[in-house]
Amino acid sequence: MISEKLVEFIHGPVFMALGTRNEKLRPAHTFVVGAIVNQDRETLTCFVSQSRAEKIMGNLEDNGKIALTVGSPSHESYQLKGHYVSLRPTDAKDVAIQEIYRTKLVALMLQYGYPEQIVKPMILGAKYQPAVAITFRVEEIFLQTPGPEAGKKIA
């Protein structure tokens, strides 16, 4: 489902956010700090702060529909839509991934010329632990890079 390139992209310095909805079709948002594509390349596990995860638990269990946006400071971005599979607390490996992710993201943002006084507090100041790992199956992938092809389904 998920291409090699996209896997690398998702594993790189990217901003991520997870959208869910409740039984009344009210959407909910949570930001994501780090994610990994599972070896099957069908499922993806993203790390969400615990408090946030609690808020969206209901949605996951009610309908399980998720929409994950993954975007680079370069504005290249994708939206992966799918279905909730499972949830578990993060382990040390996940934390390590998270910390690498945070560092890389800060570095890239600074590279892009964004001011340090914003970049560092914004990325490094975002609470990322305690967190949970939410796994979901990717069913659709859309191009989300702004431009003429935005919204195009690519998988």
Partner: protein, 492 residues
């Protein structure tokens, strides 16, 4: 949140509040300070710099500029700036270009705090569009004055009574550097700035106008002076002309008077001349034209004035004329007379005789009056002889026509009374005396072709003529018979 976080939070809040408070109190100070500074000078450049300096020192706007609208085109020019390496004064911004250009175009304030990130985003979109071939031209960066890496910008239009005159703009490399409070501050500033600029410009304009006025005034004064000069000259000209005209008028008046006088004398002269001509023409009846002129010219005494003189009188007529006249056609008679008179007349003139009268074929001529001549008797004789010869020629001609006419002449010398004879309207010049009678009687007695003269006369012209006696004739009016002679020819 733990205590530390709380404290940090509070610190931040307090800081924020302080900032706001500070700004508010500064607000009032700024306006006062700036107002007094601005209004104390009307030098536009100085004003603009003052404003920008204050904005930095007092309000912390480290990078700011003032742009003013071009007079005719839709563009602005940087008139003053502060906080830039290159002052950038004079740099242009077209309406619609960048934050400043868009503010100018829409005449509305704009505050952006995310310029770089927005641009990044848009550039990415642009790149994609270029890839997709949706864009015609490649990106050409617009050269705008200001910070190359500005992240925040706040620009406000400068308006004077809705009239757009320029833009006041502040910049920062920091994102979201300006907030609503800054908007309010800048709004207040902008009003002041706009008014100050407008005043300064008006003052400049006024200055300019005053200069223009001064120049115009100077020119006017000069013009006035030269005008006065011209007027003086013109007046002088006119006076001269007037004087000339007056003189001319006087002259004309004089001339008119002269003319009038001349006219009068002319009339007089004409009258005189007319009278003269009348006399001449009157006298011409009797005298040759020369004689008439002479008399009129005063060369001799007025002949019409009665006087006595010794004259030689000649009477002549044509023998057989009466019978001829009775038996001939009037035209023939007049023709003969005409010929006869013409020839006789010529001779009278030639010999300067005076024709006293003629009655048909008879004529009376005398000599020595009105003009005295040295030899009247001689003249009379010569004339008579020539007459006889001339008539003989005519007689020859007449004979061919069947006329029988022949000349007879009588000549006498003696005193006669001469003058005007007649009555009003019909004065004639005439001679009366024995001498005229004698001449007439002798003529009556003359046979064809005879020229009869008395012995007394013969005595006077003896050497001149050859004469034959014809006897003593008894003439009417004469007591004794007159010894008479016929002139045969002239001697020599």
């Amino acid at each position: 949140m733990d205590i530390r976080e709380q404290i940090a939070e509070n610190e931040r809040l307090i800081e924020q509040l302080n900032r706001e408070l500070a700004k508010k109190s500064i607000e009032v100070r700024i306006i006062q300070q700036l107002s007094s500074e601005i209004n104390s000078t009307l030098d536009l450049a100085r004003i603009l710099q003052l404003i920008l300096d204050s904005m930095d020192r007092v309000l912390g706007f480290q990078h700011c500029m003032i742009l003013l609208k071009d007079e005719s085109e839709e563009k602005l020019r940087v008139f003053a700036s502060r906080g830039y390496d290159q002052e950038g004064v004079g740099a242009e911004v077209r309406f619609g270009e960048g934050v400043i250009g868009v503010v100018a175009k829409r005449k509305k304030m704009l505050r952006l705090g995310n310029i770089r990130s927005s641009m990044n985003y848009l550039m990415a979109v642009r790149a994609k569009m270029e890839e997709a071939g949706q864009l015609q031209s490649a990106y050409a960066p617009v050269n705008l004055p200001g910070l190359p890496n500005a992240h925040s910008q706040l620009a406000i239009p400068l308006l004077v009574k809705d009239r757009f005159i320029g833009v006041l703009a502040v910049e920062s490399p920091k994102p979201n550097a300006f907030d609503e409070l800054d908007e309010i501050l800048l709004n207040i500033l902008a009003n002041q700035v706009a008014i100050a600029i407008d005043n300064a410009r008006m003052y400049q304009m006024e200055e300019g106008r005053r200069k223009e006025l001064d120049e115009a005034n100077t020119k006017l004064v000069q013009l006035n002076e030269s005008l006065e000069q011209m007027v003086k000259e013109r007046t002088a000209q006119l006076e001269r002309a007037h004087a000339e005209l007056s003189t001319a008028f006087e002259r004309l008046g004089e001339q008119a008077t002269e003319l009038a006088a001349f006219n009068r004398t002319l009339e007089q002269r004409v009258a005189e001349q007319l009278a003269e001509l009348e006399r001449v023409s009157r006298l011409k009846r009797f005298f040759s034209p020369q004689l008439a002129q002479l008399i009129v010219a005063g060369g001799t005494e007025d002949p019409l004035k009665t006087h006595r003189r010794e004259v030689t009188v000649v009477f002549l007529d044509l023998r057989g004329f009466t019978a001829f006249a009775e038996t001939s056609e009037p035209e023939e008679v007049m023709g003969v007379l005409g010929e006869y008179h013409a020839q006789m007349g010529k001779l009278i003139l030639t010999h300067e005789g005076t024709l006293e009268r003629f009655t048909g074929d008879g004529m009376m001529i005398f000599f020595n009056d009105p003009v005295p001549v040295p030899n009247p008797a001689e003249r009379a004789i010569r004339m008579a002889v020539e007459m006889r010869e001339r008539v003989a020629e005519l007689v020859a001609k007449w004979k061919k026509r069947g006329y029988d006419l022949r000349l007879g002449v009588g000549i006498a010398q003696g005193y006669a009374t001469i003058g005007a004879i007649g009555f009003e309207g019909r004065w004639d010049y005439g001679a009366i005396g024995t001498v005229t009678n004698l001449a007439a009687r002798l003529c009556g007695e003359a046979k064809p072709d005879q020229i009869l003269i008395s012995q007394r006369l013969l005595g006077m012209v003896e050497e001149l003529v050859e004469a034959e006696p014809v006897g003593d004739l008894s003439l009417k009016g004469f007591l004794k018979p007159v010894s008479t002679f016929n002139v045969i020819r002239l001697r020599g």
